[in-house]
C-alpha cells in the first residue's frame, strides 16, 4: 500500500538578502508515513519543521526533490491535494471580527460546502469541540484555549484524510494542552485519520506518536518508533542492581534485552531496550543465578534523552 506521505530527496533554501548566499533549510529529506499513523516531527528551533510541513501542505514550493501526499504530488497536483488535507498552525489566528460560527462557515465555503451540508458540518464541529455556547463570540474575544479548539475544528471542516498540526499545543496551559492532545488521539482512534504533527513537546510526541522523525539542521537525523530509536541508539531504560555481598559471576551483557552493561563494585548498571517487557524475565534469571537478591532500581528512558542525543 502506498504510504500517506512519501518524501524523497527534498531540498529547500531561502534567500536572506540580495548579496548573501541562500540559507539551506532542508537538505535532502526522505520520509514515509503510513496511513492512519500519528507521526511526529521533532527538532530544535530552525531545524526546518515548519518549512517541511509547509511544503507538504502546498504552501511552499521545494527547490528539488519530490513529495507526494495521499498519492498526489504537492506541486503538480496541489489543487486536488488541498481538497483532502487541512492544517492547524501554532497560535491560532483567524479574522478578529468574525464569530466562531462565521469562521467555520467561511472556511467551509472555501472548500465548496454550502446549504444544509455546511450547516450540518458546522453544527457537528461546534458540538464536537465544545464550542456551541461560544458560536456567537467573535474570535478576538475567545480565550487562547478556545481559539485553539476553533483552529482544530476548522481543520475538520472538509473531512480531511490527512491532518497537519504545526505545534498544536504551543502556548497553551497544561490542562488545555492535555485536552487538545486527547482530542487529537480520539480523532485518530475513531476516524483513522492520518496526522502529521510537529512539536517541541516531547511528552506530547511520546503520548501521541506511533513514530517520530528528528530533524536537525535540515536533515533527518533519525526516523522510527520511539522504542526502536532508543534501542538503535542504546538509549534504553536504566536498571540498577545493587548487591549486598558482591556481584555474582554472571554475564549480564548476554542477558535478553540488555543493550549495555557496566559493573562498579557491588553495583551493576544495565541499559534495557524495553524495561516494561524485559524486567520480569530478567529478574527471574538474575535471582535464579544468585542467592542474594539485589536491590533493584529502574529509571525509564525518556524522549528527552533521545532528543538530546539526536539534535545536539
Amino acid at each position: 500500500m502506498q504510504p500517506a506521505i512519501d518524501v524523497q530527496g527534498l531540498y529547500k533554501s531561502f534567500r536572506t538578502g540580495y548579496f548573501k548566499p541562500p540559507k539551506e533549510v532542508l537538505q535532502g529529506i526522505d520520509l514515509e508515513v503510513a496511513h492512519g499513523a500519528i507521526f511526529g516531527i521533532l527538532g530544535p528551533n530552525a531545524a526546518g519543521k515548519t518549512t517541511f510541513i509547509s511544503i507538504l501542505t502546498t504552501l511552499l514550493l521545494p527547490d528539488r526533490g519530490r513529495a507526494t501526499v495521499l498519492g498526489l504530488d504537492t506541486v503538480a497536483e496541489a489543487a486536488r491535494l488541498r481538497e483532502r488535507i487541512n492544517l492547524a498552525a501554532s497560535n491560532a489566528h483567524f479574522l478578529w471580527c468574525l464569530t466562531v460560527e462565521e469562521t467555520l462557515r467561511f472556511y467551509g465555503r472555501l472548500y465548496g460546502l454550502g446549504g444544509r451540508v455546511l450547516a450540518g458540518k458546522v453544527e457537528e464541529l461546534l458540538e464536537l469541540f465544545g464550542l456551541t455556547s461560544h458560536r456567537r463570540t467573535t474570535f478576538e474575544s475567545l480565550s487562547t484555549g478556545l481559539k485553539q479548539r476553533l483552529a482544530l475544528a476548522k481543520t475538520l471542516i472538509n473531512t480531511p484524510e490527512l491532518l497537519f498540526l504545526d505545534e498544536p499545543t504551543s502556548g497553551l496551559d497544561p490542562e488545555m494542552s492535555e485536552h487538545i492532545r486527547s482530542e487529537i488521539a480520539r480523532l485518530n482512534r475513531e476516524t483513522g485519520l492520518t496526522i502529521l504533527l510537529t512539536t517541541h513537546n516531547l511528552r506530547e510526541a511520546e503520548e501521541l506518536c506511533s513514530e517520530v522523525a528528528f530533524l536537525k539542521g535540515g536533515r533527518m537525523a533519525a526516523t522510527g518508533s520511539i522504542p526502536d530509536l532508543q534501542s538503535r541508539l542504546g538509549l534504553g531504560d536504566h536498571l540498577s542492581l545493587v548487591y549486598k555481598s558482591g556481584v555474582p559471576p554472571l554475564d549480564f551483557q548476554r542477558l535478553p534485552g540488555v543493550l549495555s552493561c557496566e559493573v562498579r563494585d557491588s553495583e551493576v548498571q544495565l541499559v534495557l531496550d524495553r524495561a516494561e517487557v524485559r524486567l520480569a524475565p530478567l529478574l527471574e534469571i538474575i535471582t535464579r543465578q544468585s542467592p542474594d537478591p539485589p536491590e533493584v532500581r529502574v529509571k525509564e528512558a525518556d524522549l528527552e534523552e533521545l532528543y538530546r542525543e539526536l539534535t545536539h
Partner: protein, 264 residues
C-alpha cells in the same frame, strides 16, 4: 469546473467582505464621510470661483468618478490585507480556491459599495449643486459606471498582487499609485492642458476615456473618436495583465515563503 462549488467559494469571500463591512464602523464611515467631504469641498470651491454650470458639472463628474473608484476598489484591496492583519493568510491558501474566487467574491461587494457611493454622491450633486445626473440616460450612466468599476478592479488586483509581493506596506504604494492615475486622467481638468509627454501618458489610462465619454453628454467635445472602444479595450488588457501579474506573484510567494512570513 463545478458551478455550485465555485459559487460557494465566491460567496465565502463575498459574505466575509459583507460581514466585515457591517461590523466595521469605519467601512460605513469611509463610504459616507470622504465622498461627502469631497462633494462639499469641491462643490463649494466651484461656487466660490463663480464657475458656470457646465464647468461645475465637469469638475463634479471628476469627484464622483474618483470617489466611486476609491470605494469600489477597497474590498478587493482588503481581500488579502484582512488575512495579513489577522495572520491567517495560510489558511486561505491551503484551501482549494483559485484567485478568481477571491477576486470575484470581494469584487462583487466592492461593486455594490461603489454603486451605493455613486448614487449617494449623484443625489448630493443634484440636490446641492443642481447637477443633472440623468442627462446621459441609462446607457450613458451604465457605461460610465462599468468603466469606473473596471478601473477599480484593475487597481484592486494590483494592490492584492503588491500585498502578496511586499506585505502590508504595499498598501501605501497602491494609494499613491491610484492618486497618480487620477492626476493623469484629467479628473478636474481636460487632459489637453497637460504638458507634452504627460498628455500622451493620459491616453494610456482607461479612465481618461470614460470621463471623456461621460462629459460629452454635458456639452464638452469628445477628445477621442471612440472613447468607449479605447476605454473598454484598454481596461480588458490591463485587467488581463494585472491578473497575470497576480498569478506570477502568487507563484513567487509560494517559492519564497511569503505566505508563511505574512502568517506569522
Amino acid at each position: 469546473m463545478n458551478l455550485p462549488t465555485d459559487i460557494n467559494k465566491i460567496w465565502a469571500f463575498a459574505s466575509r467582505s459583507l460581514l466585515v463591512n457591517r461590523r466595521n464602523v469605519f467601512a460605513i464611515f469611509e463610504m459616507l464621510f470622504w465622498p461627502g467631504i469631497s462633494i462639499f469641498s469641491v462643490g463649494l470651491l466651484t461656487k466660490f470661483l463663480k464657475l458656470d454650470e457646465a464647468t461645475v458639472t465637469f469638475v463634479l463628474i471628476g469627484t464622483i468618478g474618483m470617489n466611486t473608484i476609491q470605494i469600489a476598489q477597497l474590498d478587493l484591496s482588503y481581500a488579502l490585507l484582512y488575512d495579513v492583519w489577522s495572520k491567517s493568510l495560510r489558511h486561505k491558501f491551503i484551501a482549494p480556491i483559485h484567485l478568481s474566487h477571491l477576486l470575484v467574491g470581494t469584487g462583487l461587494v466592492g461593486l455594490m459599495r461603489g454603486f451605493l457611493v455613486f448614487v449617494i454622491m449623484g443625489l448630493l450633486c443634484m440636490w446641492l449643486f443642481g447637477m443633472d445626473l440623468g442627462r446621459p440616460g441609462l446607457t450613458g450612466l451604465s457605461m460610465f459606471l462599468a468603466g469606473m468599476f473596471l478601473n477599480a478592479a484593475i487597481l484592486g488586483i494590483l494592490v492584492v498582487a503588491l500585498v502578496l509581493r511586499f506585505g502590508q506596506r504595499a498598501e501605501v504604494a497602491a494609494w499613491a499609485f491610484s492618486y497618480l492615475l487620477f492626476l493623469l486622467c484629467g479628473l478636474y481638468y481636460p487632459v489637453t492642458i497637460l504638458p507634452p509627454g504627460i498628455k500622451e501618458m493620459a491616453q494610456l489610462i482607461p479612465l481618461t476615456y470614460f470621463l471623456d465619454y461621460f462629459r460629452h453628454f454635458y456639452g464638452f467635445p469628445l477628445l477621442s473618436a471612440h472613447p468607449l472602444l479605447f476605454g473598454f479595450s484598454q481596461s480588458v488588457i490591463y485587467l488581463g495583465l494585472c491578473y497575470l501579474f497576480l498569478h506570477s506573484t502568487l507563484n513567487t510567494a509560494l517559492r519564497r515563503g511569503t505566505i508563511l512570513r505574512l502568517s506569522e
